[in-house]
Amino acid sequence: MARCCCCCCCCRRFLHEPDTLFQKVVVLVKAHDRAVLDSYEFFATMAAKELGIAMGKVFEPPKDIERLTLLKSVHIYKKHRVQYEMRTHYRCIELLHITGSTAQVYLEYIQRNLPEGVAMEVTKTSMEKIPDHILEPMWKDHPIDDKSSK
């Protein structure tokens, strides 16, 4: 099964660019089985503790059940149906104040050990300084000469 993560850039140049700073990294795991998520949560929290990553909340959002009702027979017999349901259980792990390198290491470790049939969504909130060109309005140095052209 093709299960590589589509996020990590493999060619990060450690020496040249400064490390990004993530204020929050939220890892949401989805599976059909609650026991698998329990074990995975234990693994992820222990890994974060060993690597020294500050953890926020670790909680379980309520599960989603998608139900469908289909005809039981191939032809006619409309009154006899069969019902199926798909249960999706969630687990949410929040990591606070984590640098780009640590995040990359931790997420790659977590994702390589993701069990079969479990999906993951990672939401990263990175912090940045205000870029230089937004510090001062440019009209002080470059006053508008021809207003009709703008």
């Binding site: 099964m1 093709a2 299960r3 590589c4 993560c5 589509c6 996020c7 490390d19 700073l21 204020q23 089985d33 026991a35 698998v36 074990s39 995975y40 693994f43 222990m46 890994a47 060993e50 690597l51 020294g52 500050a54 104040h97 984590i98 640098t99 780009g100 390198s101 640590t102 290491v105 931790y106 470790y109 994702q111 050990n113 993701l114 069990p115 079969e116 049939g117 479990v118 999906a119 993951m120 969504e121 990672v122 939401t123 990263k124 909130t125 990175s126 912090m127 940045e128 300084k129 205000i130 870029p131 060109h133 937004i134 001062e136 309005p137 440019m138 009209w139 508008i144 207003k147 703008k150």
Partner: protein, 343 residues
Amino acid sequence: MRRGEKNMASLCGKTFLSLGRTNVSGLAFSKTTNRVTYATALSVNSPSGNKGFPERGGRGSVGRRPRREPGEPRTEKMPPDQDWTSVYPAATPFRSNAVPLPVRMGYPVKGGVPPEKKGNLELIKIPNFMHLTPAAIKKHCEALKPFCTEWPSALDTDAKCDEHFPIKIESTDYVSAGPSVRNPSARVVHLKVKLSHLNLDDHARKKMLKLVGERYCKDSDILTITTDSCPLRKQNYEYAMYLLTVLYHESWKIEAWEAEKTAADMEEYSWEDSPSQKNILDTLLRMKVAGEGEGEDAEVRKQLLERGEVQDYKDSVVRLKNEGASETTVLQYKEAVRKVLNV
């Protein structure tokens, strides 16, 4: 002797030679009479040694390699203080002869217990975490530590982070099994910034709010720019930064037509030069004139404005117009009117 009687006479599995199937231990005897499958010419007592189990099929068995005994399971030879990380170094399916735990899984037989681990498909199907025991996790983390960097200690609170790094970029990555690794939702970028951290004066701030419209949240003073029009995340991020730059510079620009701003365009209600001020001054003047009869309109108006009740009235009207009509605002207006009109 009939086959059924032969089977009923013995309970041992080795003598079920006449049957084509081997997994008949525990079946009711009445069923065996219907299971007349392959007849063989072999004797009842199987030859000792190689063939511990009866043959399958029976016919095409010439030249078949003799089957080996499985031997004792590995769990018997495992010492209690072994290195478990070498037994399960990577993610592998469950092997009942390599896990020394008496695990049972599955729906129990009526009045019985769940089936044992030997040959149990349920244990093989479910993902196991045998390769991620605490000892293994510690080992992995020790090896990963050199690649981690520390968080700068000066940025321990959220307030300090906001002060030095006010722009927040949010993006989501998706990991799932499927025919494709890509997820089109991964290109969405949210840029959040507090307007108080940007260098804006009064006019620039009002113009920015008008330009931005719904993307600004008044309660938290956060401007959110969401971009998803480009196919790549990098492109969307650069587009969001470009939008922020353009908004900033455009809001500082003062166009010629901005001088035509009317009272209807104002964001907040201002009391000076409003019909409400004129009305209250006219009313008070008429009350005064009826009472005393003075001249000099402009001076009298200024004096009236400076009175405390008129200031209260002004505050209540401004509050009513800006915040809307709620219980407190209407009560405040009522009190102010009472005081001004001496009712």
